[in-house]
Point group: C2
Chain length 213, copies 2
DNA sequence: TGTTGTGAAGAGGTTCACAGCG
DNA sequence: CGCTGTGAACCTCTTCACAACA
């Protein structure tokens, strides 16, 4: 199967979110145009995105909302539970640990780790903060799929390498550094400072910057 | 001047971060190759990115680190203070409000708003949570540049419209919805659920998904 | 008739390769 | 000689336009 663009996967997430909404509101069928309107894109783009994975629609009618929802869940790998550990019990780490939206979408936070002795042992929403030194022992036992990295930039690379050594293959990196890891490891970056700088650039140079989201 | 790609602006942020580091470590001169290595890209890409804005390097030598740092700050609009308000005093909102890294980079959080009476009036790191109803009065007076939206999805669109009506022109949106706003408003989205879903997709379909970050 | 699915065209971003210059 | 700056080639993603079909 063909390589799917990152941007396509991102849009599938958007479609899925809106589809779930539609289904709970009793919508039976939905057109590429409606999906496009809510997803901030074009109907041709929606059809192209979906066409990579099959034919889900009926010509003249649109897509059956419930079926398409299920298909997108499958495609995105959301038809299973993902075991997630959070590394770093700082501001963002604890906010994420307590955010119930993740569990709701199949991302089960099974542990939180930190290096700070003052934080280790404290309880966050039922989860006890563990010593980061235990991660090498825990990962092979508990087999988390994804690690969310919310440690200071200086430590991010070293901690990431430890996680990979312990068996983690997916990392959501909040540290503003580009991690260098083996090719088979999947990394996604979330960088709020960078987004603010993007806004700063756009607001500073409105003529030359696009308005696209 | 030509329209600059979003991806380019993002990379400039990465270069800047590494350059600042290098300068504090006494580095005088830096090559496109070194910038590429740390930015997870190629030297040609670095040179191309910079070339959109001018000629900053010396052939045979590389780029003067301090000068390039200053130039990038200018380009990104970081040679000034940006006034930021946070809308939504939930988990993420308060984590962001207390994160000092923003102020350090010129993003000054001047206020936090919420609709929940139990949260209004409480203090977060010196900032009193204000009633969202005051936003229409405050924005024209205090002239914030950027609003960080951390409200529930259902309310995001309505709140965003109120912010725009009050005069906000830049929004960092944490709600997992695509905001529909006038073209002159700049929006950036941060969507952690979407990033996790991207990881889920990549881990599920390793053959067909790239490893690119 | 209305909307999908899709080749083909177009636009935009990245990589190449080398001339230019310190 | 080494590294930048950049036009051209290349590639990938998006948009177009229309045949297919419920």
């Amino acid at each position: 199967m063909k390589r799917i663009a990152d941007s396509t996967v991102r849009r599938l997430s958007v479609y899925l979110r809106f589809l779930e909404d539609s289904v709970t509101h009793g919508v039976r069928t939905i057109s590429s145009q409606e999906l496009a309107r809510r997803g901030g894109t074009t109907s041709a783009q929606v059809r192209k995105d979906l066409s990579f994975f099959g034919s889900f629609g009926k010509r003249g009618l649109g897509y059956p909302a419930a079926e398409l929802t299920a298909s997108l869940r499958d495609i995105l790998g959301l038809d299973r539970e993902w075991r997630v550990i959070i590394i770093g019990a700082g501001k963002i780490g604890t906010a994420l640990a307590q955010y119930h939206g993740f569990r709701q979408r199949g991302f089960d936070i099974i542990a939180v780790y930190d290096a700070d002795a003052r934080k280790i042992g404290s309880k966050w929403d039922g989860l006890v903060v563990r010593d980061i030194r235990e991660v090498e022992r825990d990962v092979p036992q508990e087999l988390p799929d994804i690690a969310v990295l919310t440690v200071p930039s200086e430590e991010a690379q070293a901690v990431a390498e430890r996680l990979v050594g312990a068996g983690i293959e997916g990392i959501l990196n909040f540290a503003p550094v580009q991690l260098k890891l083996p090719a088979h490891i999947t990394v996604r970056n979330v960088n709020m400072a960078m987004e603010l700088e993007g806004l700063s650039y756009a607001l500073t140079n409105r003529e030359r910057s696009g308005e696209a989201q």
